[in-house]
């Protein structure tokens, strides 16, 4: 196995080869700073048809990236939404043109804290400007222009992807014919801010983190980052799901070891997930992206709150939540539906009954995938007809 530094070098080399545009238009961030000439990495699947009416934009979640399906060329693992996107899948890439961009602040080719700061030729680290969900979304506008997509058939995303989507619909009310926010919220709850803070504190408590200056030394605060990832993984599962999956089962042993090794399967699972993560994700990116999530409160951007955010929407919405999701609860998702209703928008809502918790949107959850497919296919028929008229 290559050393961590070597691995990062190898990853960086491959990142050079991935699709990206350089956004020339200056982007004034919510924090007041401006970025320009910045890279935005993206991936597309399927083909844009002649009428340009089959484009679907996917927004990724906290630890996701632009590699939605197929094999991620950087990690050599399956894309994060391979259950829903691909040939013959709910979001059928034989039929639709799927676009996904890496968020700014991320670490898969778009401008992020591990990139070089032109002011001092050092990696940004904590000199990277604090970004918001709105900044992420506005950065992606140029990509649609670049790809020649005037109006999307659909935009979708789960978790932080759903939050980007709500922002996208509010900021660009005419850009999407339909939208599917999944397991998300219009403002980050105290519980979710607390969990994000736990993740950040874990990273910052790792001495290797060194105030974010670890990048120039080709190291990564992997212990802190792994703990941050473990926190995340606990929050993505439901109590019942976790009990059923692991219970009190021991990890390849007949009895307790009377030590602090991973005796229980659930411990082993968390350690594995935590330490696998450090190989593909930058610790500072976690700080920046979780901060963006915490700052997200769509209602705060509008005088009359959420109802005003969704005013004049022609977009047709389908909101989906999962019954056992305690991170982005059914209640929070319903609040979005209520606001959309109050502003007169065309909105559908479905709660999928499952024990799989927040993770359900990434898993093979047949009722969810059927609903997704049914909505997108029916929207395509409508969009085609509308464009013809």
């Amino acid at each position: 196995m290559p050393s961590l530094a070597g691995l990062f070098f190898w990853m960086n080399r491959k990142i050079e080869d991935i699709n990206k545009i350089i956004v020339k238009k200056p982007l004034k961030l919510d924090c007041g700073k401006t970025i320009n000439n910045f890279p935005l990495a993206y991936e597309t699947y399927g083909k844009l048809n002649a009428n340009k009416d089959n484009a679907i934009l996917v927004f990724h979640a906290l630890t996701g990236d632009q590699f939605v399906t197929g094999t991620n060329p950087i990690t050599n693992k399956e894309g994060w939404w391979v259950t829903a996107v691909g040939p013959g899948k709910a979001i059928d890439t034989d039929k639709y043109f799927v676009i996904c961009a890496n968020v700014i602040g991320g670490c898969m080719g778009s401008l992020g804290p591990k990139d070089t700061n032109p002011e001092n030729n050092q990696p940004y680290g904590l000199d990277f400007p604090v970004i918001t969900i709105k900044d992420m979304v506005r950065a992606q506008e140029s990509l649609l222009e670049h790809l020649g997509v005037k109006k999307l058939l659909c935009a979708t995303g789960g978790s932080m992807g759903g939050m980007q989507l709500l922002q996208f619909c509010a900021t660009f009310p005419d850009k999407a014919f339909s939208a599917i926010p999944i397991a998300c919220s219009s403002s980050h709850s105290a519980q979710n801010i607390a969990l994000n803070e736990l993740a950040r504190q874990a990273i910052m408590a790792d001495p290797v983190w060194n105030n974010g200056k670890y990048v120039s030394k080709d190291v990564q605060p992997k212990n802190g980052l792994a703990v941050a990832r473990m926190v995340g993984h606990i929050s993505y599962l439901s109590e019942k799901g976790m009990q059923e999956k692991f219970g009190r089962k021991l990890q390849e042993k007949a009895d307790y070891e009377f030590s602090f090794n991973a005796d229980f399967q659930v411990e082993s699972y968390l350690r594995h997930q935590g330490y696998a993560f450090v190989e593909r994700f930058d610790a500072n990116s976690i700080l920046y992206i979780t901060r963006a999530m915490d700052y997200f409160d769509l209602s705060k951007q509008y005088k009359d709150g959420l109802v005003e955010a969704f005013k004049n929407q022609n977009t047709k919405f389908l909101v989906i939540s999962f019954s056992s999701d305690w991170l982005y609860t059914t209640k929070e998702n319903k609040d979005i539906v209520i606001a959309l209703n109050a502003s007169g928008a065309d909105v559908s809502y479905s709660e999928i009954v499952t024990d799989k918790g927040h993770d359900a949107f990434l898993l093979n959850e047949p009722e969810f995938l059927k609903t997704l497919k049914g909505f997108i296919d029916s929207m395509y028929e409508k969009f085609k007809n509308e464009k013809r008229i």
Binding site: K316, L318, K334, V337, I338, N341, A342, G344, D346, V347, S348, Y349, S350, E351, I352, V353, E367, K370, T371, G374, F375, D377, S378, M379, E381, K382
Partner: protein, 197 residues
């Protein structure tokens, strides 16, 4: 299409905004949208039905009308339709008031417990009636508050709810019900369809 839906569709003017509470598989919504250019919305409890609506491109919200009508703003629809469900709510009065809050007018249909066959079953056989419109037995019926067309008339009077039109349905026959013919129509209608508000 069943007669009940035909009557409801005839009561609804073209180009209006309609909320169908308990919209089932979306049959009525689809008809209203396609034939009358009505802007439809549905509320439905059953997951499978919700999916069927979504597949037809019909906007539907999964939820329980008993507890989740509060999400719709005041007077946000021209009409609210409630087909044969009023009797299944724990608190039909509260639901009806909510419907009248959401819609400028409300169409509510009820299976008529005053229909002669229903009365006969109870009077001569001493059993809870099981008929085509009331297919369940006493122990598994979802119907908690059965009423007659006359009962709903009285209810609207007592609660100062304006009755605009009442249609009685018996198989393929329909007839207008007024106070003057209420006794006889209450005996011969299987369903009562009320336009109120």
């Amino acid at each position: 299409m069943k007669k009940e839906f035909k009557v409801i569709a005839e009561l609804l003017p073209n180009n209006t905004r309609v909320l169908d509470v308990g919209c089932g598989d979306g049959f009525l919504m689809n008809f209203l949208r396609e034939e009358k250019n009505i802007e439809v919305r549905g509320l439905e409890l059953n997951q499978e039905n919700v999916q069927l609506c979504i597949r037809k491109g019909l906007p539907v919200i999964q939820g329980n009308a008993e507890t989740e009508l509060h999400q719709f703003p005041n007077q946000s629809f021209d009409y609210v339709v409630l087909s044969q469900t009023l009797q299944a709510f724990y608190n039909p009065e509260k639901v009806l008031k909510n419907l009248l809050r959401i819609g400028k007018a409300v169409i509510v249909s009820i299976p008529n417990f005053g229909y002669w066959k229903v009365r006969m079953k109870l009077l001569f056989f001493g059993e809870m009636p099981v008929t085509k419109t009331l297919p369940n037995t006493w122990y598994n019926t979802p119907n908690l508050h059965m009423c007659t067309i006359k009962d709903l008339f009285k209810f609207c009077d007592e609660k100062n709810i304006n009755i605009k039109q009442v249609v009685g349905v018996n198989e393929d026959k329909t007839s207008l019900i007024k106070k003057s013919n209420l006794e006889i129509k209450n005996l011969f209608s299987k369903l009562g369809i009320f336009l109120i508000g």
